[in-house]
Symmetry: C2
Subunit: 157 residues, 2 copies
């Protein structure tokens, strides 16, 4: 129930060539509070309800709890979500021994692409693909819950 993840910006589209899977994800939030984020997700005909707690100081480690729920129930719960649904395509890209999940955002967050890698221990080493940019682990503006309220297109670029 503790997830160790690092998050990065993505600097080219080359990850698309290397991806072995892609899924559309639509999600909304019943709470965007970083201490008790509640997310409803619909992903390729499956529904999920996920609760996340506050991240550690460096943002790498975070409590995460998830349960699968019937997709029609997830769709009903999405209607209760705060305004600002997240719509994205997730690419699964295997790089050496690690899986990167690369999210290409649409709608109000179009233009943003971020990659996440899940680790077993905080200081685990991993191979950096060419398309991996600046690390943004723990920067709240890149949390999907924050992106739903303050979408990327409205940032000062």
């Amino acid at each position: 129930m503790i997830e160790i993840e690092r998050k990065f910006l993505v600097v080219s589209n080359d990850y698309k060539k290397e991806a072995h899977k892609k899924n559309r994800i639509v999600q909304g939030f019943l709470n965007t509070d970083p201490f008790r984020t509640v997310r409803i997700r619909v992903k390729e005909g499956q529904g999920f309800l996920t609760v996340k707690g506050m991240g550690s100081e460096n943002g790498t480690t975070r409590f995460e709890w998830e349960t699968e729920i019937p997709v029609n129930e997830a769709e009903a719960l999405l209607k209760l979500a705060e305004p600002g649904a997240i719509d994205k395509i997730r690419y699964d890209v295997q790089v050496g021994e690690h899986l990167f999940e690369v999210d290409e955002f649409f709608g109000e967050n179009e233009g943003l692409v971020v990659a996440e890698i899940e680790l077993t221990v905080e200081d685990e080493s991993y191979e950096r693909p060419s398309w991996l940019g600046e690390e943004v682990t723990g920067q709240p503006q890149y949390y999907n819950a924050q992106l739903s309220k303050h979408p990327y297109k409205k940032w000062q670029h």
Copy 2:
């Protein structure tokens, strides 16, 4: 997924003699917003996650979605809840053809006892037991989510 319920104050302890079941309930909230309330409940060794939407104008009808979850996971999620856990004993009391659930609150809400009846249609008739007092259906201060933030002991009595 739509619940029709009416809620009442309770004016005597006679419901305890008529009850056929009692269970201790401890619950906390991942969101107390009445548009998207998220409740974690532990009840006699079982865990539940419940989402409630906004009630109808008269407060009788409300979207409600619930899933059972492992009790140890419910306990972990309770730690993320907003301050103000609700601790109560629920008495199940059959009155004629209807079940009343009577909640006797403890801790910061001690002194408050409310009864709820679930109906099939809004204008369904039901038998009123002697201990049933004033109807408080739809009064937000009696929502458990509100009681967790503004407990009964702190009201102006």
